[in-house]
Amino acid sequence: MPSKFSFAFPRPNTRRILFFSSLAAVFVIPVALFGLLVVYLPFIQKDVFFTFVRETLHRDPDSWAGTQWLYGAALLVAGLLLFTFASVSGGIFSWYERRVAGRIQSRIGPNRVGAGGFFQWVADAVKLLFKEDLVPAEADSLLFRAAPYFVVAGMTLTLVALPFGQSVIVADLNVGIFYILAVTSLIVVGILLSGWSSNSKWALFGGMRSAAQVISYEVPSGLAIMTPVLMAGTLSMQGIIRAQGGWPWQWFISRNPAAFVAFFILFISQLAEANRTPFDLPEAESELVAGYMSEYSGFRFALYFLVEWANLWIISAIAVSLFLGGWQVPGLEDQDWAALRGAGSFPPVAWWFWQLLSVGVFAAKTMVLVTVVIWIRWTLPRIRVDQMMNLCWKYLVPAGFGAMLFTLLWQIAVSKARIVQDISGGVLFVLFVYAVFRFFVLTRKNISRVVGDRVDLTNW
């Protein structure tokens, strides 16, 4: 009898593996990233670090020469961690944005690569890595290659001064917000460089438009930032957050009517700085193909997009820190934090849990703002260049000045009678809650008026 050779390898159930692995990744990746930050960063705060040097290494931190080196090394590791955080979160935001965009457009969004399309960004990054690294023959080779790195540097340098939690910050500079403003300008340099060095008319258009846009919107941005700085009395990011409270009526946005206006000015200006619609002229796909990025391919191209999505986080984080209370947990005051830290040189283990809570509060608020930014992008059309300049110089700058002046007087009034602040906080909070309620009512009314997806459109 002829025997038939049959040996079948057991086929792995790829689908199920992919599903569970992506589900795991959805939770594990953010937890791991945030967890690393939460655990590591408090260690490199100056006081904890010095205690570590004194008690574990048995050296006097002030006089030992190695303190600086060790601290530097620790900071480098922190920077690396943050860069990883930014890159991965850039990828995850791209997935989030595409899913949200899909739902807004009554379609699904990526859903093939992993459950819910969660690994789409991994697939895209890997694909871009494998693409040919083209440098146009006529382009200025050194500048062309260097330009993306300026942009990435601008993004990374900003991250080190962002306060993620009560003690979760790489460098609590006492000129925090000023430093952040200054360093985001590196992105302009990168954009201009890429536009010019591409040696293509379209890229040049895009680069110049973008530079004009970002530089112009730095002014109302700075003016809007003056308001919380005046209210807190310090430029340090942690200081500004500490001057706010946990409850919504204790946030700066409610404490001062001018701060309410300043929040929107800041939000709009940051949207413009991050090149997001309605200000995405430099990347206006329908006009310039890809603007200043049109000659880039492969991973250099991916770097620009990475920075764009990481920028989502950064601009939301700045707005949250300055106006929406940052990491302040409702119900915990400054003295509560000090009490939780304890009197000992090393904080107790339970303290890390409270840190995690503050990071969670911060992340939640930032995610809300990120969702709003994405929502705006997929709803609104684009503003023209001259209209955008108009908006900046004729409306936002005077409004920013007005808010700053008002705040100056307000602070004088507050110093005389603290009750003014609380009244404002209460009133604005109530108004905000009412506005949100009306918004939902109106949305429900709009939805019910349209027959919408309740019709069977299956093919005949």
Partner: protein, 379 residues
Amino acid sequence: MSKLVLRRIDRNNEEMLVNFGPQHPSTHGVLNFLVETDGEVMRRAIPDIGYLHRSLEKIGEIVGYPGYMPYTDRIDYLAAMFANEGYAIAVEKLIKVEVPKRAQYLRAISCELNRIASHLVSIGTMATDIGAVTPLVYALREREAINDLIEALCGARLTYNYHRIGGVAFDMPEGWRDKVLHFLERFESLIQEWDRLITWNEIYLKRLGGVAVITREQAIDYGLVGPNLRGSGVDWDVRRDVPYGAYPDFKFDVPVGRGWAGTVGDAFDRYYVRVLEMAQSCRIARQALEKLPDGETMAKVPRRIKPEAGEVMSRVESARGELAYYVVSDGTERAYRVRARTGSFLAMGIIEDISSGLMIADLIALIASLDVVAPETDR
């Protein structure tokens, strides 16, 4: 690129000659524009067409009269029913055949559905050019429903070849009427949703209001037709003023530009006229379905069509304006000359003269508001 153009560039100023197209996410079809600009403001935008020239007029002289019908689809593939109808009407006039009532009604229904589909593409791509991507997806979602309906009717989703010389090819299937009425009911609420989403959006009004104004006299002089003409304030619609087919039986309004965003004849007027026309098309389709008479769908037409020598001009109101067919016959089975005068071809002619002083973003708005499609300009 034309030598004439090169000579005109002023090299002393900082002006560049940039190619806008032919591959471009924004231009509607394969069109090229040579733009003389200093970076943002254009001195002139010279259209450069011909990338989609398929010598359809020459082909008309080779295939016979009935055989040309699928080619007419390609004259404007987004609004193919009108192209079919125009040619059918021209040849029917030549051979002196009368189309039965039911066929005329079916023609009207299919044409109005096609008008809605074409306008959906037009306004959807216009919104995308201005920057809002979401309205395009909504428009295409509705258009999918229309595509499915027309596929049930004639078997094709884009190039229909549905009308025949003497009538229409197929009668409507069972249950189709209810599906169309169901769709129309749902679609009318979409127009309101669309208005709330994008039409009255502040940014949209600012981008389109007062941009690329074409006055009444200019519109008539340059030969613009259809929504471009009506957007500039001229109250003219071939369906109402020189009626053909079943249109005398229907009651409908003709939207005319009123300067909703400030100036009569700006890009917003041309855009909004299209939105309102979709609502009117729903109305016509509904009336046609309710009054649909029984009867034949095709008249008795000889197998070999051999009209006597002569010439004829027929006009239909296509989605892009008046589509006129000029057919010359010399007594044989093949046409001597077939000519399709399309609205987009004349719309290209006005771009060069209107474009001086506009910004590049406005050029995009202009092209999108004129609803220029490459197959119509090049044939």
